[in-house]
Amino acid sequence: MSCVLTAEKVQKLKAARKVLKEIKYEPAKLEKGYANKTLYINLSDNSIVSKDVTEKMKDVFIGGKGFGLWYLWNAVAPSTKWNDPENEIVISPGPVGGITQYPGAGKSLVVSLSPTTGSVVDSNVGGHFGPLLKFSGWDALEIQGKADQEVIVFIDGNKGTISIEEAPLEAVDTHLIIEELTEMYAESEEDKRNISVVSSGTAAQNSLIGLLNFSFYDKRRKSPRVKQAGRGGIGTVFRDKNIKAVVVKFNGVKGDLNNPVDLKKIQELGIKLHKEIHDFDAIQTQKREVGTANLVEIMNDYDLLPVNNFKYGYHPETWKIDSKQIKKKVTQNMPDGCWYGCSMACAKAVDGFELKTGPYKGHKVLIDGPEYETVAAVGSNLGIFDLEHILECNFYCDTYGVDTISLGTTTAFLMECYESNILNKEITGGLELTFGNKDAAMELLHQMSRGEGFSKIAGQGVRKIKELLVKEYGADSHFLNDIGMENKGMEYSQYISKESLAQQGGYAMTNKGPQHDEAWLIFMDMVNNQIPSFEDKAEALHYFPMFRTWFGLMGLCKLPWNDIEPADNRQTSEPAKVPEHVQNYVELFNSVTGKTIDKKELIVQSERVYNFQRIFNIKMGFGQSLHDNPPYRSVGPVTVEEYLSRQDRYDQQMKELIGVDPEGKTIEEKMQITRKYREDQYDELRQTVYKRRGWTENGIPTLEHIKNLGIDFPEVVEVLKKHL
């Protein structure tokens, strides 16, 4: 870290603190993965309340995202907006979260109403906060209300105190405030590892795409680092509530704090997976060397890496930003897990990076990542193949509190608007937003931090920008809806889905919006051709979203599921599911909680929460068929140049799949025929998926289905009946 934090400065920060409210509590001892208590804080009246976790909550909602959805459901009305005091931010780790024997068990799930979608959103994040919160005696933290001045919430899990404190002098940008607060609350260098800070940044308060950073102290680097809850703008909600940070401190992390019923079994499962990672990571996905960035060149090779606002899937200059180049930048041979015991260790970092722009120009900083998504979002998708720029942008997005995915997809959209003469320098305030213009892209981000200029429009996200361009500048709404890569108000994550019908559904038929954490089916569909029929695709769009939802109920990371595979996985009947690891998860849950689920019940656990989230969307005025419409850019070629770039492919498909001879047809005619075919395919898939999921043709879960799932509570039935 670059800032010089002197003892004098720390004293000054402390002296300016004023405790607005403090309570003492008896930290609950964990039993079978649960503290059985959750913490409610209202910043409007500074009330702090302990709530009991009921058996019903555990049975139906399990924990993590499930708890978040249930609390938020009870907190908001259909009329509640993201910036109303009633909106909440709920953070919960889940019952398996915090174990140290099995890789990837330090995740927190964050739930809130989103500024960009208007509906409920969830985002998962690493870092130490969730487990330390649970070890402090809380299965979830629920923050409601709005403070009338900048505050910090501090939870001390050893002393059993919770305080809300005025924080007038602390920085807002993450790389500064995490250092300040780690220094302020730790009693020694050794004590710093016991602290985790949730923070955001200056751009989060000036845009709708703000993220939350969750810190963990890297004792080798002697520096706090961060992981991000990026999707859905929850950082913006956080800053709107006038929160500078939430801090938890807990000293005494041990492997048995969850008090699981069968620690020995958990250890056995962990040892088995550690060995697989040790033996196979280097020849499989190289998470320990480059994190998720190994995907950059793979996606480019398969025509799946977004280039120039998702127009193309390949670019010859990708080698400049691929994992081979990234590997030269990230520090090697350093254990890099974001929670104890994670041997997958994908949390890579670039050390000592000297910033070239912005308010921290000249500072040498630590950069988390870069992840694949960031490389694609602020690199290839903007036509920028400059790794130094990507790293600089990665740092500033994190410290300013902005989601790299939403920022990248939004900027890509703006660049296409600029090149299509919908935007010009007059509107952008002089920014020449052409593809490849890294200086303009960086300046837009700095503007967002300052709350100035064109960033005030850019920071609204794709959906709201489209509306503004149509209303204020007379832009063609049809074209903007085709090229604006958003669904439900959330910006797409970074994969080209044009040649995978299943992934088009995997993006647009999601609960929160087009983030690939529900389903990533491109290889199964487009490359392997394993799910050729509509029914096959629908089955995959049932199984994988349900299975992957489960990680968010537990406090688990998805990567150790299928970014490492057992040696004999290829011999199983369904290698894409990695059956041995699924069984690990069944046994892990049972060994922590003492319950006796099997792999079918695992899916049902998710299905309850998944359907509840769908119904939550319906309650908020969304969640129906029309909200599952994808932008055409994710389905097929929108422009002539796009069609021409893959003309052989499209012409061949016209002949073989549609049964129309392309010979003698104009490009426009061929584009029209292709579009009709692809849109019809999507509609048929949508109906097949709805049927498989137990929903009506309009995407509404049926009463019979929710009764079977055991979520037919009166308030749920009441919402559904209005739509059935």
Partner: protein, 65 residues
């Protein structure tokens, strides 16, 4: 003509699994390859000949991202 993942591909003289993988730009590091149902281990890709009419499967065991 051969089939790769049930899709027709033009067969070429001297075709091996390695050449086929290269021509398809299949760079994903973990593949499950079979010819007419018979598993081909990674170390045999270079020598594993593909004959005209063969049914080849090159499965990428990934549902992640």
């Amino acid at each position: 003509m051969i089939k790769v993942n049930n899709r027709p591909i033009e067969w070429q003289e001297g075709m091996t699994i390695k050449k086929l993988i290269n021509s398809l730009k299949y760079s994903y590091p973990v593949l499950i390859v079979t010819i007419n149902g018979e598993h081909i281990p990674r170390e045999k890709y270079e020598e594993a000949a593909v004959a005209d009419g063969d049914d080849v499967k090159i499965i990428h065991p990934i549902a992640g991202g």
